[in-house]
């Protein structure tokens, strides 16, 4: 049963077709990786799922409900979709602890922010998350003084704190060292085990580490879909990536 379904969605930015008639279904509990050359429309697809961009045509269905064109805060709050941005997107001068605390699910209406009391259960929950992302020792530090990799992890922790049904990760390993990238992959596998996860990624080793299914996007269209091994063998995919390299050389 498809949990997330993109039905023939297209997005055009003043005439430029960023996403062209894409249909995509993701099952509940699946980890799906979307790869593709620069400008293939990967981030735009995440934007549509999280409400940042409305599809020009087509529909986005989540658990059967049409969420296309709804507000980001509604999609995040009501439909429980979490998003990790490309390049860490944090609350800079809040502490690590506060960043997680802000993200905690279920306390986001104005009334609830007044009724909120930090009890034992909540501090335990925050501690668990901070332990998972290896940042408990730095909880009182403002997030700007973390390293780039730590900032990426902090944002992953925020997404977990949101308790989403669907997690979207936009290049979670961008700018990380090989070691950090590997750790991140393990984090995704353990922390997001039973969640539906969509990952946009470039790093092929990392894709191999986490992917269950891979969709390849090229010029706004789905080029291929399947397991990592299948996609890797697909001649069309090889051609696209090779051609890209040629252009890069030229």
């Amino acid at each position: 049963m498809a949990f997330l379904e993109l039905q023939n969605v297209s997005v055009s930015f003043s005439g430029f077709l960023a996403v062209d008639q894409v249909s995509l279904t993701v099952d509940k509990g699946e980890t799906r990786v979307i790869i593709g050359p620069n400008g293939a429309g990967k981030t735009t697809i995440i934007d549509m799922i999280t409400g940042k961009t409305a599809p020009t045509s087509g529909k986005v269905l989540l658990g059967g409900a049409d969420i296309s064109g709804r507000n980001p805060h509604e999609i995040a709050g009501k439909y429980k979709v979490g998003r990790k941005f490309q390049g860490p997107n944090l609350f800079d001068y809040l502490t690590v602890y506060e960043n997680i605390e802000v993200a905690l699910a279920g306390h986001s209406s104005i009334l609830k922010t007044f009724l909120y009391r930090k009890n034992r259960a909540i501090s335990d929950e925050i501690k668990t998350i901070l332990d998972q992302i290896n940042l408990y020792g730095k909880r009182d530090v403002v997030s700007t003084s973390l390293s780039h990799g730590e900032r990426q992890w902090l944002e992953m922790g925020m997404v977990i704190a949101q308790k989403p049904q669907l997690i979207t990760l936009d290049e979670p390993t961008a700018g990380m060292t090989a070691d950090e990238t590997y750790k991140t992959g393990e984090m995704i596998k353990t922390m997001m085990k039973d969640k539906t996860v969509i990952v946009v990624e470039h790093d092929i080793d990392f894709v191999e580490q986490i992917a269950e299914t891979v969709s390849v996007l090229h010029q706004g269209k789905v080029l291929a879909e399947g397991s990592f091994a299948e996609v890797k063998r697909n001649p069309k995919v090889v051609q696209v990536y090779l051609k890209d390299d040629d252009e890069a050389v030229a």
């Binding site: 805060h73 001068y93 699910a105 306390h107 922010t113 007044f114 501090s123 403002v142």
Partner: protein, 367 residues
Amino acid sequence: MLKEVKTVGWDKTIDILLLLFLVSFPLMTSLFRVEMMSKCIIYIVFALSLDILWGKAGLMNLGQAMFFGLGGYVLALSYATRDGVPAFMSGFGVTEVPWFMQILHNTPVAVLLGMLIPGLVAGLLGYFIFTSKVKGVFFNIITLSLASLIELFFTNQQKYTGGANGISGLPPLTIGEEPLSVLEHYYVMLAVGLLVYLFCRWLTNSRFGMILRSVRENESRLQFLGFNPAAFKLSIFVISGMIAGLAGMMYIPIGSFVSPTNIGVGFSTAVLVWLAVGGRGNLTGAMIGAFLVTWLESLLSEHFENVWLLILGAAMLAVVMFFPKGLVGTLLDWQYCRRVDRQLGDVSCDDGLGLMDGELATAKGKV
């Protein structure tokens, strides 16, 4: 445990010292000074109203005085029209107090409206500003022009507001039969000020306060966590407007008059300066800034009749140049850096990660 690591910041200590000073102040000095200090307390309340808006939520309102003035005018009109048509109205041929002023004759109603009307105005403005996603410098420009607009409006409506002269000769507070003495006034103001302070502390320490700081830091990120930033901005705008209105009302029995200078651009700028001097985002800075600047203003104008403005200006420039985050803000940053250094040797405060030149603890609000 987290509780053990969090030491009490110096801001709380300064707050307590300030309170002790204000409580014992009348024992040390003349009634003239006590009356001066009463005004200072009102300015402190006014500064707090802007700090929860600008310091916490990052909404720099360049027209904060419009709420102060609205509160002031409501209470002033309530007093002025109680014994029939006042002189500034009858001069324009008004023979009867208009209905909307008659309802102000009941003091509790007037006091309530003195907060509700600024709150309502803030709500209306905020609704249009925040739902249309006006941000940053455009918000500043809109608020600035609104302040000058409302100043012009109150100057021109001479028939009802006394025009540029304002409304004068307003009575002191009366509880029971006798009007309050200067000393009693002082302590009433201090009590109200303390309540407002406690409210602001509670508000900013609550989760609501934390979300406000998140709005200031990264409003768009907040949406993807399920928050509606516009609703939070609107709420704090209304709360801030109501507190400013309260401060405006407190001013009436002490100042005994209100005029367009209390509602316009000049006074709005003054409160910005207080926050710049003291530091924003931690309530202490706003209070210290308001206290120091207004007190210095009075003292300097007494002793240096001709050049006091020059001296004051130079002092402010010095603060802004050497302590860009304000006096209290700089102190808190320094304290935060020392604590971080102590806790984790590897994160030094001047390791080029932008801790020193960033906004840091001032922006963080609590250390």
